[in-house]
Amino acid sequence: MIKTLFRQTKGYRLASVLSPLLILIEVYMEVQLPFVMSELVDRGVSGGAGIDFVVREGAKMVLMALIALASGAAAARFAAKAGMGFGANVRASVFEKIQNFSFANIDRFSTPSLITRMTTDINTMQMAYTMIVRIVVRSPLMLCMAFSYAYKLNHTLSRIFIIAAPVLFSLLAVMAILALPRFRTLMKKVDGLNSSVQENLIGIRVIKAFVRAGHEKEKFRISNDELKDASIAAEKLLILSNPFMQMTVYGCIIAIFWFGGNLVVESSMTVYDLAAFITYVNQILMSLMMISMIFAMGVMSKESLNRVIEVMAEVPEISDKDADPSLTVDNGDIEMENVCFKYKKNGKKNVIDNINVHIKSGETIGIIGGTGSAKTTFVQMIPRLYDVTEGVVKVGGKPVSDYMLKNLRDSVAMVLQVNLLFSGTIEENLRWGNPDATQEQIETACKIAQAHDFVMSFPDGYRTNLGQGGVNLSGGQKQRLCIARALLKSPRVLILDDSTSAVDTATDAKIRDGLRKYHPDVTKIIVAQRISSVEHADRIIVLDDGKIDAIGSHNELLGTNKIYTEVYKSQQEGSVA
């Protein structure tokens, strides 16, 4: 973990070291001041030193403070640089890491949790790092130096600190230890309140439709009150830190007056030393207070740290490890041999169970099956979005793991069930398929995908700016653009995973027609709910519970295969007028 973190300081190590060094100078100057002060006043007033001595020493003190100011300000600058640089490094490496994730890795973390880790958690870490660079060095340094000067000033009197410091520290420590579990409870209540509000926002139509606002208000009142009580319970302890601190400082001052006063009476100490000591009380105990605060902060940001480290330590499940960089996919031939798959290694049941199938290059294959029959999982094995648990998937005659992922996925284009477009223009989105595509290629792809006409109907045509997630397009329009985007890759294999569900049947037919006409050599795999989407395929695979129930053409399956016939009938219901 330390090693992973250390790597993230790259480029900002100098700043990370300079900042504490400058702080060392700042603290050194600040700690000397009361000491010099005491000597100056003593020698000036009682020691009979001349005015020029006082002026010289006074100027020295001002200079020391100026040096402290300059180094303190520079240290702050370097700390900001180091902290923000560290944060940026962490953000970049986590982002890069996620780019290397396979689908299985993404499943394990879930999208919202990855987003929180990349935003809130990294920010917490960044703040903690900045603090560490500044205060973690500063406070112990201040503590030690101030103490040694106090000791130099008067051995006997400095014993007060030896007693006071541990007392304050243990008071704060006990408080922190007691408060910690209460803060954990508090965090849970905060999460609880937030997720109940979130749920409320998502379900607002249901709430309004069933007139349940009162019920929801009552639910919220309970979590809101619980949050209040948990906050009070946790902070009740935390607010003790200030009185504890004051109590110790005041105790020290009285002790210094008493013991110091005795020493002054015995003439073994000057009143100026006594005053200097009071300044050290503040320096020493403030540092202690800061240390305890940093400690608490560290504990609280540890959770964030763990969550980020977890992402960084995740091993991408799929890599180019065994790939041959020179290998390219020559044809769209697909073969599956004894393929089994389960999402979790220790899962009991195979999601895909011993599938053997050979799809010839250029064939059109339909895949049909009920909800949960593993249609999507089946096709995701082909571009190696998931690795098989057992068996081999071959594309173009070679196992998929022999290809570089980029080579494989450029040749096996897949249109996912959940269609996503990114902010930017339509053209920019289409260029994901091929950054160097000509305008003509783009238009051809869009014509086949039946997207050209509606794109041209927008005032800005292909330059139309899409909001985040393509919000100003209808579901069917998005699907068609996604198909065009995949076509621009000029793939050997094209997989459409229920990609025309929001497209009406007539347009759906036109898309399939276009594919047949313009891309006859491409192997086309069409996953669908609608019989009409697959009935013209060369062969149709009927999946049931992760197994192949039957393979055959529409005519072969109709009447002989029970599932296929049932699905067909259910969709035909009422059609006979």
Binding site: I51, V55, L66, A68, L69, G72, A73, A76, A80, M84, G85, G87, A92, I98, S102, F103, I106, I115, M118, Q126, M127, T130, L193, N194, V197, I202, G203, I204, R205, V206, K208, A209, F210, V211, A213, N224, L227, I232, E235, I239, Q246, I253, F257, W258, V265, V271, L274, A275, G370, D410, L416, F422, R485, D504, T505, V567, Q572, E573, G574, S575
Partner: protein, 640 residues
């Protein structure tokens, strides 16, 4: 706990805020705090005690060094009673100070948490009363941030600023008075140094604000990019877009780094600068004070004693601290006010207006056909319609819904529905067919008044729905939506959402009707299985079955099914068909469906295109017409 832990993205003063707004927001926030006026007064008194205890305590340096110790030394150093006496009184002052500190912290905690509790409650309760339009025009993230980051800055401000400001202010004034008393000359010098400090605060503050704004922008860009790309991660993988994504990200990430570095530099430079200005003052005062001690005769007005100078030195150190704190508090307050303003903005959004006065009541049918209102459930319901002249009429509740030339637009520009008229008699099933954006869902939004018609009117049993109380109107119809939302709770709770007082038997019957009973029984804990995260542990189809059961248990005469069976595969749909038929029996039903097989047995099918009904009739009529419906319908079976 520490202010430094804050999300850096939320730092900095808000953009383009009008001063008038700030003032109004501030006053409003005060009025929330004002509810605890008595407690706040006590807090203020305690804060004053605590701050003054510190200030007075420091003056004992002078008392001890100038008076007590010399007198003991003079008397031979044997009798320490004066020192004991002085320290005992100092001890009392300090104990008083510590107790006050605890006192105000404890009371303030209560006040702050209570105030926040009330603000959150007001926010949430008001949000519940806002119209659907509001939720449609704000993203969830936007609204959530009111409860998270905005509430958080507010918490920090309320719990700290009041105490810190008053404590700092009292300390500064108290310390200054003491300094003037000790030595007016030195105090004048400190004032000069203070001006220097103010110059620094001002210079740093204005730059810091500028860089914080810049940082804010970059944080927005980076977070937006992260959200978009992590959500689209699977697409990135499929298109091998990883390298490009990394490259683009590193550009915006780097501009964030630069802006954040500047913002944080200026924010954190303030502490060492102010701290060391106080040390410079300390050094200078030491020198000047010593020179004064050496050169000015004791009898002079400007003379200073050693004790005074030593006490003065300590005051110097204490003088700048609260000033730094005050300047930091201003930042916190400005940020919190921006958050408060966003919260109040929601509280000020007009609630869903409801000028309806017609209500639904239990009724008894008299032998002559008239209706009488009664308390108990009779199974007969009536619309209670009070008139301007004081008379009340009762109309039997039947479920007759009509649209009279309805025109509607979401944005006032483009009409989503144009001059739509239709009628649904009690017990009829009316279906809407059409492509996305044709206006199907809009029709259901209008029936239950999520939105109000622009022109024309909708009547329910002959009564304009604008006259019916919204709650009663919605209670009299059940909706099953395409995106089924389930709530955290058990399966039973979720079904009972349709009728909070439903018995177990009613719940089970509803589940059976929706064909959900069998899968529920197979769940590990049956009806008591917990549903979490919007039903993530159920399939989309199962969730729709639960939503249907939820509508069934409500048992209303009007049912709206908006793509209610879209995620149920056609085989399962056939299985629940009987249940659905039974559910629809005797009710007025509006069905929106993508699949034509779902709607073909309707009493009337409306084909919508661009907000207009272009065809209407029964399935057979429409097939005969050979229009759009015919094309759609036949398209599914004969494509070429």
């Amino acid at each position: 706990m520490a202010p430094a832990m804050k999300h850096p993205g939320k730092g900095g003063p808000p953009k383009g805020q009008k001063p008038g707004n700030v003032k109004a927001t501030f006053l409003r926030l005060l009025s929330y705090l004002g509810r605890s006026k008595a407690m706040l007064t006590v807090v203020f008194v305690f804060v004053a005690f605590s701050a003054l205890a510190g200030v007075i305590g420091t003056s004992f340096i002078k008392t001890v060094t100038d008076e007590v110790l010399p007198s003991i030394i003079e008397s031979g150093g044997k009798d320490l009673t004066p020192l004991v006496k002085t320290l005992v009184s100092l001890g009392f002052i300090y104990v008083f100070g510590v107790v006050s500190s605890y006192g105000y912290s404890r009371i303030m905690l209560q006040v702050a948490q209570k105030t926040l509790n009330i603000i959150r409650k007001d926010l949430f309760n008001h949000m519940q009363d806002l119209p659907i339009k509001f939720f449609d025009s704000h993203t969830h993230g936007e609204l959530m941030s009111r409860y998270t980051s905005d509430a958080d800055t507010l918490r920090e401000c309320i719990s700290q600023s009041f105490v810190q400001l008053s404590s700092s202010l009292i300390s500064v004034v108290g310390t200054f008075v003491m300094m003037v008393w000790l030595s007016p000359v030195l105090a004048l010098f400190v004032v000069i140094m203070l001006c220097l400090g103010f110059v620094a605060i001002k210079a740093l503050g204005s730059r810091s604000a500028k860089y914080f704004r810049e940082q804010q922008k970059c944080v927005g860009a980076v977070n937006g990019y992260i959200e978009e790309f992590i959500e689209g991660q699977r697409v990135v993988k499929v298109f091998c877009h990883e390298e490009k994504a990394n490259a683009d990200f590193s550009v915006i990430n780097d501009s964030l780094r630069k802006a954040a570095t500047n913002a944080h530099t200026y924010a954190s430079v303030l502490m060492p600068v102010m701290g060391n200005i106080s040390y410079i003052t300390y050094a200078a005062v030491t020198m000047i004070g010593t020179l004064m001690l050496m050169m000015i005769p004791k009898t002079s007005f400007f003379a200073i004693s050693a004790g005074s100078m030593l006490a003065f030195l300590t005051y110097t150190r204490h003088f700048f601290q609260p000033i730094t704190q005050i300047s930091q508090q201003f930042n916190t307050i400005i940020m919190a006010l921006a958050g408060a303003e966003r919260i109040f903005e929601i509280i000020d959004t007009p609630a869903e207006a409801d000028d309806g006065y017609v209500t639904l009541v239990n009724a008894r049918k008299n032998s002559d056909g008239t209706l009488t209102e009664c308390e108990e459930r009779t199974g007969v319901w009536a619309w209670k319609h009070p008139h301007g002249d004081g008379t009340i009429t009762y109309t039997e509740w039947q479920g007759d819904v009509r649209f009279h030339n309805v025109t509607f637009s979401y944005n006032g520009k483009k009409d989503v529905l144009k001059n739509v008229s239709l009628y649904a008699m009690p017990g009829q099933k009316i279906a809407f067919v059409g492509s996305t954006g044709a206006g199907k869902t809009t029709i259901t939004n209008l029936i239950n008044r999520f939105y109000d018609v622009d022109e024309g009117k909708i009547t329910y049993d002959g009564i304009n729905i604008k006259k019916i109380k919204k709650a009663e109107l919605r209670r009299s119809m059940a909706m099953v939506l395409q995106d089924t939302h389930l709530f955290t709770g058990t399966v039973r709770d979720n079904i009972a959402y349709g009728k909070l007082d439903a018995t177990d038997e009613e719940i089970e019957n509803a589940a059976k009707l929706a064909n959900a009973h069998s899968f529920i029984s197979r769940l590990p804990e049956g009806y008591d299985t917990m549903i979490t995260g919007d039903g993530a542990n159920l399939s989309q189809g199962q969730r729709q079955l639960l939503a249907i059961a939820r509508a069934a248990v409500a048992d209303p005469p009007v049912l709206i099914l908006d793509e209610a069976t879209s995620s149920i595969d056609t085989r399962t749909e056939r299985l629940i068909e009987k249940g659905m038929d039974k559910l629809m029996e005797g009710r007025t039903v509006f069905v929106i469906a993508h699949r034509l097989s779902t709607v073909s047995n309707s009493d009337a099918i409306m084909v919508l295109e661009q907000g207009e009904i272009i065809e209407r009739g029964t399935h057979d009529d429409l097939i005969e017409q050979k229009g759009k419906y015919y094309q759609l319908y036949t398209g599914q079976f004969e494509l070429d």
